[in-house]
């Protein structure tokens, strides 16, 4: 028996907007459903990791006060958009370390209609006073380049376009076309509408080349997973063991120093590093993947991650999307859930939700959107700052 860690139970709420619930409601619901899915209770948990970015602190404890105060250690984790993967990573670490046999990871966000995520706006101060590490006298977003999310990720994509052939507005737009199309089959997606390329390229420009339909929405939602040690799994009924999905790799990286990193977040190196570690740990290569759920916060982001995750040849992301390879009927389906762009991106939840998605396909339980015969999948998220979380999941033999 190996010392691998497995996903025993998992659940996500439909992503959307829930003004009558608070984040603790959403997180509690996801936790309770995940435990029911795994056939276990809060009394079986040795550790709780709660991931959220914008909610008030102490989310783990507030969830405990709703679903069970058993005195277990609680990790409140945050890593920007990689928060959810970090929650999973935390529980994984504890089990690997032999400090827990079973644990609960939850990611939650309640953003409502938060709108554009950006750098600080001009405040009411009317006298210039240098402040902060750059001695800035006024917010610099918009004066010294952009700090908006659509802009930063647009620049990441355009930087790739500068270095490689065959990448332009159309290639980025095709990513959004694909993900909106995929979402029509996912009942848990925030939006479930197909759009034409004309509609996508013609929707209001947020930060060229990212138009509105190429950007993920804000919203509310949660996802949770119960992880278990193999030793403990083997003591469980056969039918429970059969639905368990193995975590072949759980990797978290941060961004190593690069010369340009202080002016443009480098989302490439840390993804490449995480992918390399994950493939090596799992003993597979990208060609072995049956599906990928990656971090398409913006269409420009997904395109460069084809390259970073080794799904295409180095420099070949433009050809890759043009060839149809990442569509659900292509060589390597990417974001059949609809991705962040269409399924939604309640930030803390996403890293757990894409583990939910891959797990569901590996169990053969994905309904209309099922990738037939899926055996191996990869879940990837990036949080600016930065952090990259990758999990490789495999169907039980």
């Amino acid at each position: 028996m190996s010392d691998a860690v497995w996903v025993l139970g998992t659940s996500m709420t439909r992503f959307g907007r829930y003004p009558d619930l608070d984040a603790v409601d959403l997180a509690s619901q996801a936790c309770m459903d995940a435990m029911v899915d795994g056939g276990v209770t809060i009394h079986d948990m040795d550790i709780l990791a709660a991931g959220t970015l914008f909610q008030q602190g102490g989310m783990g404890q507030r969830v405990q006060k709703q679903i069970g105060q058993t005195g277990i250690p609680v990790y409140n984790v945050t890593n920007a958009c990689a928060t959810g993967a970090t929650a999973i990573r935390t529980v994984h670490l504890a089990i690997k370390a032999g400090e827990a046999e079973m644990g609960l990871a939850v990611g939650v966000e309640q953003m409502g209609k938060m709108g554009l995520l950006r750098g600080g706006a001009k405040d009411d101060t009317n006298v210039y006073e240098p402040a902060g590490r750059f001695g800035a006298v006024t917010p610099i977003d918009g004066i010294l380049g952009t700090e908006t999310m659509p802009g930063v990720f647009a620049q990441a994509g355009m930087g790739y376009a500068y270095e490689n052939d065959g990448v332009g507005f159309e290639q980025f737009a095709k990513v959004a076309y694909k993900n909106h199309l995929h979402s029509t089959l996912n009942p848990l997606a925030q939006y479930r509408k197909e759009f034409s390329m004309e509609e996508i390229m013609g929707s209001p420009v947020q930060s060229y080349p990212n138009t509105l339909l190429m950007c993920c929405p804000t919203g509310d939602g949660a996802a949770a997973a119960v992880l278990v040690s193999e030793e403990r799994l083997r003591s469980m009924p056969t039918e429970v063991q059969k639905r368990a999905v193995k975590i072949s790799a759980s990797v978290l990286t941060s961004d190593p120093w690069v010369e340009s990193g202080q002016v443009q977040p480098d989302v490439n190196t840390l993804t490449r590093n995480a992918a390399a570690q994950a493939y090596e740990t799992a003993g597979i290569g990208p060609e072995d993947l049956d599906l990928v759920e990656l971090h398409d916060c913006f269409a420009t982001a997904e395109l460069i991650h084809y390259d970073n995750l080794g799904l295409c040849e180095r420099g070949g992301a433009g050809d890759f999307i043009d060839s149809g390879a990442p569509f659900r009927d292509g060589r390597i389906p990417v974001n059949v859930s609809g991705g962040l762009i269409s399924k939604g991106h309640p930030i803390g939840a996403t890293g757990v939700a894409n583990v939910y998605e891959v797990t569901t396909h590996l169990r053969g339980e994905a309904g209309d959107r099922q990738v037939e015969g899926a055996k191996v999948g990869l879940a990837h998220v990036i949080g600016l700052g930065s952090a990259c979380g990758i999990h490789i999941l495999e169907k039980a033999a």
């Binding site: 210039y128 750059f134 001695g135 004066i143 802009g151 930087g159 420009v205 060229y208 990212n210 202080q262």
Partner: protein, 145 residues
């Protein structure tokens, strides 16, 4: 507009500066330029106040002038921005002639869509606002060379 040298806002109490740079790594005066903190050990350059070098870990820096010429390595035309920011504008990541990456706007284009990856640029400064004391804020950007 006069070319008085910039006075530090924290200088003698009561002295109101005529101009202030938007960030302290922008040096004003007759020959405006960017001034980076350069690690004396490995040469990595930084624009912020440092505790140590993120590349090699050493904690000694020397001020180092950044070249004015640059190439456009990436950009985005921003249409949706924080309140008070005129749109659309061209956000740019440039690489200077001495290999330093800088983020700023491409300025002086009649049409933002005229920005082109790989275009040659040159450092420039411009006024970006005035406060209640009449102090002018000066920003930097890159114009077509």
């Amino acid at each position: 507009m006069s070319d008085d040298t910039t006075e530090d806002a924290t200088d003698d109490a009561g002295v109101i500066p005529e101009r202030l740079p938007i960030v302290d790594y922008l040096q004003l005066g007759d020959d405006p330029h960017l001034l980076a903190n350069e690690c004396t050990d490995c040469g990595a350059r930084y624009f912020d106040r440092r505790n140590a070098c993120a590349k090699c870990g050493k904690a000694e820096f020397t001020p180092s002038r950044v070249a004015d010429d640059a190439v456009l390595k990436s950009f985005s035309i921003v249409h949706r921005a924080a309140p008070g920011i005129p749109v659309p504008y061209v956000s740019a990541i440039v690489e200077t002639g001495d290999g330093t990456s800088v983020r700023a706007n491409v300025v002086g284009l009649d049409d933002p869509m005229a920005a082109e990856l790989g275009m040659n640029l040159v450092f420039t400064t411009y006024g970006c606002g005035t406060d209640d004391n009449g102090t002018e804020c000066v920003a930097f950007g890159y114009a077509a060379a």
